[in-house]
């Protein structure tokens, strides 16, 4: 009896929390992020209905059939019912699975865009660095032996490769608004994770692999990048930023930074 009321109350309180605006997704800043939010809302409505229906039914059954000395009437099996609720849940669950494939495909199954700005991302315990190809549009060779974090060559760009002469490394990821970006994620030591909440994108960065990640940001601003795969004692401080700039600001920054490239 009391438990029926309590289940209803806790379910109600849980539901109510979903209507507070305070703890929610941050603003979406790409077409993918907006598609993500839309599909999430669909999923949330479906599971919200299941939640209310199931908890409500549970509370009601407890209340309705509490011991008042009544005779036991219910049956102990019914194949029609079993088939009905099995197929109903199968349709809903698999329907959700299929409906959600679009946003997954949008991130991971689309081919590379030739116009995309390519940036290499290097993770190590506990910092991020980024490499731009420079004016020639080609990344120079890297050589493990030439890695020099203090000297600004975390990637180990090979001084002997002319393609690498104009390569630019930075501690913050800057991209122009509206331009497709393709990141190539690499790790030097353990597994890390590149997460931009506003883009609704998250990808493990695995040593030994180069993993592509594509997005097109549609709003300028500075967005935090928290490492999201346990990588050691500095995991919670492995922070970086994504700065989405107007085309002009980006071009100005690039020109200035390019000037400062010291050849290793």
């Amino acid at each position: 009896m009391a438990i029926a009321i309590l289940i209803a109350a806790l379910a109600g309180a849980t539901l109510a929390l979903f209507f507070q605006p305070r703890w929610w997704f941050p603003e979406a800043i790409s077409a993918h992020a907006r598609a993500y939010d839309a599909h999430f809302l669909v999923t949330l409505c479906v599971i919200g209905c299941i939640f209310v229906f199931a908890q409500g039914l549970l509370a009601w059954v407890i209340f309705r059939y509490r011991d008042r000395g009544q005779a036991v009437t219910g049956s102990d099996g019914n194949n029609t019912l079993e088939i009905a609720w099995t197929s109903a849940t199968a349709v809903i669950f698999l329907g959700l699975a299929l409906a959600g494939q679009g946003i997954w495909a949008g991130v991971h199954l689309e081919g590379s865009d030739p116009r995309a700005l390519k940036v290499e991302v290097l993770a190590k315990q506990f910092a991020w660095s980024y490499r731009y190809a420079g004016a020639d549009g080609a990344f120079g060779r890297v050589d493990v032996k030439q890695i020099d974090d203090a000297g600004g060559n975390s990637f180990g760009i090979d001084a002997k490769d002319p393609k690498g002469k104009d390569d630019l490394t930075a501690a913050v990821l800057r991209v122009p608004v509206g331009r497709p970006v393709e990141l190539h994620l690499k790790s030097r030591d353990v597994i890390h994770n590149f997460f931009v909440r506003e883009l609704r994108l998250k990808q493990d960065v695995v040593p030994g692999m180069t993993i592509p990640l594509r997005f097109t940001a549609t709003k300028t601003g500075t967005y935090e990048v928290p490492c999201s795969e346990l990588c050691g004692l500095g995991h919670h401080q492995m922070r970086s930023s994504l700065v989405v700039m107007t085309e002009e600001d980006y071009a100005a920054w690039l020109a200035e930074a390019q000037q400062k490239v010291v050849l290793p």
């Binding site: 009896m1 438990i3 289940i7 806790l10 849980t14 929390l17 507070q20 305070r22 703890w23 929610w24 997704f25 941050p26 993500y36 999430f40 999923t43 949330l44 599971i47 939640f51 908890q55 039914l57 059954v61 407890i62 059939y65 000395g69 009544q70 036991v72 219910g74 049956s75 102990d76 099996g77 019914n78 019912l81 079993e82 849940t89 199968a90 669950f93 698999l94 959700l96 699975a97 299929l98 959600g100 679009g102 946003i103 997954w104 949008g106 991971h108 030097r188 353990v190 994770n193 998250k202 990808q203 493990d204 695995v206 040593p207 692999m209 050691g232 004692l233 919670h236 401080q237 922070r239």
Partner: protein
């Protein structure tokens, strides 16, 4: 009661005792973590006394937080949820319910308990060795876990002991699984067919089958990881690594391979934790509704379906791991499919209540609470099972909320239901019903208060496995939320004293129980 008894009842109680010790230890560790999350800069003398290396001057280091987290998760998953429902209650009641005198292999049974105890001892040893306990989480992904001290304190001897402990645990679980499987196949009373067994026996039987295949994969996974650490092999370590400015001379290994092996065990593991509980819940709901279980056949088929499908969904833990995006699609469809038999079980529980005459004993309270928690924790699986949506939530507090509710708390509620229901059989006395109900109500409110808000930290994007949230601007918004959760956790822990008191007091002083106090029809109550 001798220490090395081969009597299944004694061994069952030993397992339950071990789980009881572990669950309180795990809970104490979680309180220390919850405290640190909201007071990261407060110095605590006690911390310094307990962990002189990890908390110099009482100031907890990040590595200490992470090692507490690793130990908490490992203790809870292995020594509580894998131990009490299956090995504890299974040992005690499976033979009684199928009319066998004991388990098929009593000596093996004794050995599996003592191997489990040795495994726990090995794990706890990690706290006191140089560098302390490992910080790589209960999932221990390499290369973090595969390269030794260079990746962090605790990654030396502590991580070795952790792997050794898990390997011992695998051996113990394999022995236990074989015992239960053979017992069910060979020792059913004459005339008792498979489909005459109570659902509890089905739960233990299917769980034993799952354990056999799951632990048989975790064990070699652990051995290979240990070889990478101590023998310089490269099963999981790729070439060209530079850790802490030192070039690692390894090549050819794959970090993802370990994740496949781990989750091939890890996902079925959540069913190992919950299936015996599902059997118990079916029984308790039926007895206290005065009805047979609704859809007995459907319930057994659902368990078998969960057991089978459970082995082909492990990839949902790896959607963002860098594995092929095409396999994510297959894993997501299979994952949503394994949700169906779980939903079917819920419907059958509701139908079992329907038309009954419900007696609200303490055991019945926990069983009803289980159903509610199973729903709340289960539906968020429909979010995480979609790779597109998992992108955002993976490794955030949303996942922490999801798995605590469905795997942690729901399974613990099933343990409480089982204890209250079977205590009279085990000790000849009742657990105090009134204290049981008070404990239920306070705990039920407590777990909702602790774990529901954590979903919202997940919406904000709050990563898990962070010792504090000071570094990020966007995490300022969840300070209050975490403060509330921490206080709810204090409350939740405090009310567990009621249970502890009830357990020890009732063992000696509880009301004496008659032979079949609940009017049940299964053999453990009716045979004598």
């Amino acid at each position: 009661m001798t220490l090395f008894s081969t009597d299944h009842k004694v061994i069952g109680k030993q397992y339950i005792g071990l789980a009881l010790f572990s669950v309180f230890l795990g809970m104490l560790l979680s309180l220390v973590m919850r405290f640190h999350l909201v007071h990261p800069d407060t110095k605590v003398r006690l911390f310094q006394m307990l962990w002189p290396e990890g908390a110099p001057g009482g100031q907890m280091t990040p590595e200490l937080y992470l090692s507490l987290m690793t130990m908490h998760g490992t203790i809870m998953v292995f020594f509580v949820l894998t131990t009490a429902p299956q090995s504890g209650f299974g040992n005690y009641f499976l033979p009684l319910q199928i009319g066998a005198h004991d388990m098929a292999f009593p000596v093996l049974n004794m050995l599996s308990f003592w191997t489990t105890a040795l495994s726990l001892g090995t794990l706890l040893l990690a706290f006191v060795v140089e560098g302390g306990a490992p910080l790589s989480g209960w999932t221990a992904y390499p290369p973090l876990s595969g390269l030794g001290k260079i990746t962090g304190p605790g990654q030396g001897l502590g991580q070795d002991l952790w792997i050794l402990s898990i390997a011992l645990f695998c051996v113990a679980s394999l022995m236990g699984a074989i015992n239960i499987i053979v017992t069910v196949i060979e020792l059913r009373a004459p005339g008792m067919g498979y489909f005459d067994m109570p659902l509890t026996c089905w739960g233990w039987f299917v769980t034993a089958l799952i354990s056999l295949f799951a632990f048989a994969v975790l064990l070699p996974g652990g051995v290979l990881l240990l070889l990478d650490r101590v023998a310089g092999t490269s099963f999981f370590i790729p070439g060209g690594l530079i850790v802490n400015d030192q070039v690692q001379g390894r090549s050819g290994g794959s970090p993802l391979l370990f994740q496949h092996l781990f989750w091939f065990f890890g996902h079925p593991e959540v069913y190992i934790a919950i299936l015996p509980g599902m059997g118990v819940i079916s029984t308790v709901l039926s007895v206290f509704s005065g009805k047979k279980v609704f859809g007995y056949k459907a319930m057994t088929v659902a368990m078998l379906a969960i057991g089978g499908l459970g082995f082909v969904v492990w990839g949902h833990h790896m959607f963002i791991s860098g594995m092929s995006p095409y396999s994510s699609i297959a894993f997501s469809v299979l994952t949503m499919a394994v949700g169906v038999p779980s939903a079917v079980k819920t419907f059958n529980w509701l139908a079992t209540l329907w038309g009954g005459r419900l007696r609200f004993t303490a055991a019945m309270h926990y069983a009803l609470g289980f159903v509610s928690l199973f729903i709340t924790g289960g539906i968020t699986g429909l979010v995480l099972g979609q790779p597109g949506l998992d992108i955002y939530f993976h490794d955030t507090y949303f996942v922490v909320a999801h798995f605590h509710l469905i795997m942690g708390v729901a399974a613990v509620f099933a343990i409480w239901a089982a204890l209250h229901y079977w205590f009279p059989k085990m000790y000849g006395r009742f657990l105090n019903e009134r204290l049981g109900k008070i404990h239920f109500f306070l705990t039920f409110v407590g777990v909702y208060a602790v774990f529901v808000p954590l979903h919202f930290a997940g919406f904000v994007g709050n990563p898990r496995r962070y010792p504090d949230f000071k570094e990020y601007e966007f995490l300022k918004s969840v300070t209050g939320l975490h403060m509330g959760v921490t206080h709810a956790a204090y409350f939740l822990a405090a009310v567990q004293l009621i249970f502890l008191f009830n357990y020890f007091w009732s063992k000696r002083r509880g009301a004496v129980a008659p032979g079949n106090p609940w009017g049940a029809t299964t053999r453990e109550w009716t045979d004598d």
